[in-house]
């Protein structure tokens, strides 16, 4: 183990002796020191903090009553994510990155626009030349990226799907008939299922378009819209991945057993015989 005291004194002495900046372009990164070290351990390095944003319009009248899917809202959401993701990849390419890790996804649906904001750190194999082709975009953490890459897999891009479906109301006769019963609201269940199917289908087909083998770390949001409670929203997104090597490398994690004792709770009352 290195001596932290000697390391600190050496660093401070180096600075005091006029230690100069390296002759290279500055790196900006939102990775923590642990993430940066982990990235280096698999031979990658951060290069630039990158952003991709898109605000997409939702036309008037989309949220009124109707049947089936609100295609205006679904299209706007899917377009916003797609555009933001493309812009993020472009930023990464112009910084010389091979991909973006740890992307934070913010997607907000307003009555007349959808805002999607993506923030992450562009990375590359240490000292590598700029990447030819589309860089990958991944919302996986650096830890997940390191695990994936050690197992022979690589991320490709964000796979995303959104769907907004009208939840139809029961007619008067059904409502009166069911008013004293414990009964499933099939109209709402079915709306959720319909939204789920469309959104998941879109997410999977966006993965297939990237030639992905699968999608990992899928996040799901569902429920009625706050400003249009007759509309069920379902969004799903994750990182599309593919097997980049001949075969999956099985990890053999070491099993560890902590010998730390549980903390013994001391009660002052016990001394008094309470």
């Amino acid at each position: 183990m290195p001596d932290p005291r000697a390391e600190m004194a050496a660093a401070a002495t180096w600075l005091a002796d006029g230690g100069r900046s390296p002759d290279q372009r500055a790196v900006t990164s939102d990775l923590s020191i642990d993430e940066a070290l982990l990235l280096h351990s698999i031979g990658w390095e951060p290069i630039e903090l990158v952003f991709g944003v898109s605000v997409t319009s939702v036309p008037m009248g989309v949220w009124t009553w109707g049947r089936g899917e609100l295609s205006g809202a679904s299209d706007a959401h899917n377009l916003a994510v797609h555009t933001a993701s493309e812009r993020l990849a472009k930023e990464c390419s112009s910084a010389g990155g091979h991909g973006v890790v740890g992307v934070r996804v913010s997607a907000e649906v307003h009555p007349h626009h959808v805002n999607v904001e993506l923030t992450g750190t562009a990375v590359r194999p240490v000292g590598a030349k700029p990447h030819v082709g589309r860089p990958f975009v991944s919302d996986l953490s650096t830890r997940d990226f390191a695990l994936l890459s050690n197992a022979g897999w690589m991320p490709l891009g964000l796979a995303f799907g959104a769907s907004f479906i009208y939840a139809p109301r029961r007619d008067a006769a059904a409502a009166i008939r069911q008013s004293t019963q414990n009964v499933e609201m099939t109209n709402l269940t079915e709306a959720l299922y319909a939204a789920r199917e469309s959104a998941m289908e879109r997410m999977q087909s966006s993965g297939l378009q990237m030639s992905a083998d699968g999608i990992v770390g899928v996040h799901v949001t569902e429920g009625p819209m706050s400003f249009a409670r007759h509309v069920m929203r379902f969004t799903a997104w994750g990182t599309a991945v593919h097997l980049a090597q001949d075969a999956h490398h099985h990890m053999r994690p070491e099993v560890v057993l902590s010998l730390d004792d549980a903390v013994i709770q001391f009660s002052a009352g016990a001394l008094r015989g309470d």
Binding site: A11, L15, S21, S29, I33, H40, S41, T119
Partner: protein, 302 residues
């Protein structure tokens, strides 16, 4: 207040009293001692700032003209023109995204004054560096008055000469994270914080699209579900400008562990104010990188 007189007369007396104070948690304090860092005092800086007004007569009006060149004075400005021809006197024939330089300058002046005062206190106690820096901003009294507060723990590196020009280095990190940074071969130089503020003054197309009236625009052959270019560009500009500002403060050094904070205010009619604040530690490599071995995966039995 400015210059060396910034530190109140009582502060050096308190700081020289013989006992130290520190803002570190106990684990951070332990890590600090293990690295040979001796805490000498909890140092702070304050500054209350008033935001200037940009009405008539303000020096900041120059960006707001349909005839101004793009990026006047090196600051961001982008104009958008109505594609419809004359519709009415109320029609928004021209729109602009522009960098609100006066907001950025006020923020920077506030932050830098508070930070400079913290560094002065650190010099006062003979510190080599300031670790575990935190900074906060609050509104005071009125909407356009804000308080900046920067706090950190001044430390002396046992056995090391004073820092260059006696100017203490500083970092947002402390404890084991700082130890790992040093171990990775990176020396903290300074905390860096900056803001970018962009005002979006919508033109007709943006107004229609953001208010759901895109169909009016659709008659021009465009889709009503589309990227609202002016707003997307404004939102992106706030982030990209903040990154540029930070780069200007870095030289060839790197910025580590950036935290990104954004705020979006929708004024209505497609008008917005977007702000982006970046904070991080400027670091410089002092030894060649010595990569750690691939970590061993473990599963814990409990």
């Amino acid at each position: 207040m400015s210059g060396p007189a910034d530190v109140p007369e009582a502060a050096p007396r308190r700081l020289e009293s013989g006992s130290f104070s520190s803002g570190l948690t106990v684990p951070d304090f332990a890590a600090c001692l293990q690295m040979g860092l001796r805490p000498v005092g909890l140092v702070q800086g304050f500054c209350a700032m008033q935001w200037g007004w940009y009405g008539a007569g303000s020096p900041y009006m120059r960006g707001m003209s349909p005839y101004a060149p793009p990026n006047p004075g090196g600051t961001y400005a982008q104009s958008w023109y109505c594609p419809h021809g004359f519709v009415s006197g109320e029609h928004r024939m021209w729109g602009q995204n522009y960098e609100q330089v006066w907001v950025e300058q006020a923020w920077l002046q506030g932050f830098n004054s508070a930070f400079g005062r913290l560094i002065e206190e650190a010099k006062e106690v003979g510190a080599h560096g300031v670790i575990g820096v935190t900074d906060t901003t609050h509104s005071l009294l009125e909407a356009n008055v804000a308080e900046f507060h920067v706090l950190g723990t001044a430390v002396v590196v046992e056995g090391a000469p004073p820092p260059p020009k006696n100017e203490p280095w500083s970092t947002y990190l402390a404890g084991q994270r700082l130890a790992k940074l040093i171990e990775a071969g990176l020396m903290p130089i300074s905390v860096v914080a900056t803001i970018a503020s962009v005002r979006v003054w919508a033109y007709c197309v943006t107004e229609y699209l953001m208010e759901g009236a895109g169909l009016m625009w659709q008659t021009q052959g465009a889709s009503s579900v589309q990227d609202v270019q002016q707003v997307s560009e404004g939102l992106f500009a706030a982030r990209a400008i903040a990154r540029d500002h930070v780069r200007r403060q870095l030289g060839n050094d790197s910025l580590h562990g950036v935290s990104v904070a954004t705020s979006e205010r929708e004024i209505g009619g497609g008008d917005h104010v977007f702000e982006c604040t970046l904070r991080g530690t400027r670091v410089r490599r002092f030894k060649d990188f010595d990569p750690i071995g691939a970590p061993r995966p473990t599963v814990r039995l409990t």
